[in-house]
């Protein structure tokens, strides 16, 4: 191992140690927090809000809810995922892949791999607690417990597990992390990685790169390049999608206010209205959304950047 690589490896270990220290510190704080919580209970009257508290039959309730949602009656082991679960089809796909020849870098996949394909922005939680947000039209293949292939765009929030490195393979390089947050997107010609938190080790063409917060790596058939950006705007795509179906305007506005983190005021004591809004708002700013509502529901409003004031509306 070269000296550079030795240094990089020890840096990674130092980071590991930092992370482990941070976890110990947080555990200790939680310990103190529980004491604080009880002290708070003792000195306040919060527990009086337990008056009338009852145990409800959550199991019976779950039966009722899952009887209204067919997909939930499938056993967990089948790993049903909205919108698509492809497993059997993989055999055919594997043949196609060999024929097309575009996936030379990938391992031969066996039929027990799980494939996730997203049509909309979709968040998946894995068994290890990691959280992956897939953009539209992204394909994620799970090879093993913390090992994936990615084509498309995804934001990863990896659960810390120093004993089990988490890997993601792309056409132009593979990355390994212990527990961190990062954005990857791939095209046929390149892979981009932007790190939000933690440390990422990226390997491509026999070279190893260590990335930390704010680093962006771009790799293509020739090699890889790292730059640094100050503002992590790379992951703004994952949140910007709101869907409404036959919803009234009050409901829509309340959702928008929560989503864009603004305040909402109705300037008259309007009742819940009889509008029917059917729209999907994707990748839009709040100004664009409000303007659309003006068109859809005749919404007359003021917005000063922090507060929406809904003045009147007119649905017919």
């Amino acid at each position: 191992m070269t000296l550079n690589n030795k240094i990089k490896n020890s840096l990674l270990t130092a980071h590991q140690n930092e992370e482990l220290e941070a976890i110990e510190k947080w555990k200790k704080q939680l310990h103190e927090n529980a004491d604080e919580l009880v002290a708070h209970l003792e000195s306040s009257k919060i527990t009086e809000q337990l008056r009338g508290y009852q145990t409800v039959d959550s199991a019976a309730a779950w039966d009722k809810v899952s009887s209204r949602i067919p997909e939930l009656s499938v056993p967990d082991s089948a790993k049903v995922l909205r919108p698509k679960f492809i497993n059997v089809i993989w055999k055919i796909a594997a043949v196609m892949i060999l024929v097309v020849g575009a996936y030379i870098g990938f391992k031969q996949l066996d039929t027990t791999s799980t494939v996730f394909e997203s049509q909309l922005v979709e968040v998946i939680t894995m068994n290890d607690g990691s959280n992956i947000t897939l953009d539209e039209g992204t394909k994620l293949v799970q090879l093993a417990d913390r090992a994936y292939n990615l084509e498309g765009r995804a934001y990863f929030r990896v659960a810390k597990d120093p004993k089990h490195p988490f890997t993601v393979k792309t056409l132009h390089g593979q990355l390994t992390v212990l527990g961190t947050e990062f954005n990857i997107w791939t095209t046929d010609q390149s892979t981009h990685v932007a790190v939000t938190e933690g440390t990422v080790r990226f390997v491509w063409l026999d070279k190893e790169y260590i990335l930390t917060r704010g680093d962006v790596l771009v790799s293509n058939s020739k090699g890889a390049n790292i730059t640094h950006i100050d503002k992590m705007g790379y992951d703004s795509w994952k949140d910007k999608s709101l869907k409404f179906k036959d919803d009234n305007l009050h409901f829509v506005l309340q959702n928008i206010a929560v989503f864009y983190k603004v305040d909402l005021v109705f300037s008259d004591e309007s009742e819940f209205d009889s509008c029917k809004i059917n729209s999907i708002f994707r990748e839009e700013t709040i100004d664009q959304v409000l303007k659309e509502l003006n068109v859809l529901a005749g919404l007359d409003y003021d917005f000063d950047g922090q507060t929406i004031t809904a003045k009147s509306f007119n649905c017919n």
Binding site: W62, V123, T133, S267
Partner: protein, 171 residues
């Protein structure tokens, strides 16, 4: 949203959500209907956020709003004048409140695991708001005994919450 995540959220929050709705609606059957409806809607509308607390906030907000909506519609029918304090400002549920309901839910569960007399004294003192003297009279025990039970209850709560929190963290 992932089906497994959906079920996990349901299991953890169905009870506190139902009790929160109950405080507004005063009717458990209605409260549970509201919560179940909201969960079904969240599933079909594909609501989920990368930030888990945002998802929970959304859930609690919807349950609260729907509960108020029902009250308003019902009181309109009965021609009752409403206290309009909540109408103009969006009642969105902050993380503090979600944590409060989760905490209350935990406390409730832990009380039921306490020895009966301790649980009884604690309930009378800290939930029903009786004074120690009143409790002593009601249960025919000494004041000192009442105090001892309350202290013991808090000690048990502290221990349980400590363990619970750290267990949650490790998953």
């Amino acid at each position: 949203m992932d089906a497994i995540l959906f079920k996990a959220i349901f299991k953890e929050h169905y009870q506190p959500l139902s009790n929160m709705a109950f405080r507004i609606l005063n009717d458990f059957a209605k409260a549970e209907d509201v919560v179940q409806d909201v969960f079904v809607k969240v599933w079909y509308d594909d609501i989920s956020f990368d930030d888990h607390t945002k998802t929970l906030g959304y859930l609690y907000t919807m349950v609260k709003n729907r509960s108020y909506e029902i009250i308003r519609l019902e009181s309109k029918e009965k021609n009752i004048v409403q206290n309009a304090s909540y109408i103009n400002k969006l009642p969105s549920v902050e993380i503090d409140e979600i944590e409060k309901w989760s905490l209350l839910n935990s406390v409730y569960a832990h009380i039921r695991q306490m020895p009966p007399k301790t649980a009884e004294v604690f309930t009378e003192a800290k939930i029903n708001g009786l004074s120690y003297a009143q409790i002593a009279a009601k249960l025919d025990i000494s004041l000192k005994t009442v105090e001892a039970h309350v202290t013991k209850a808090y000690k048990m709560l502290r221990k349980d919450l400590n363990e619970q929190k750290i267990k949650v963290f490790n998953t």
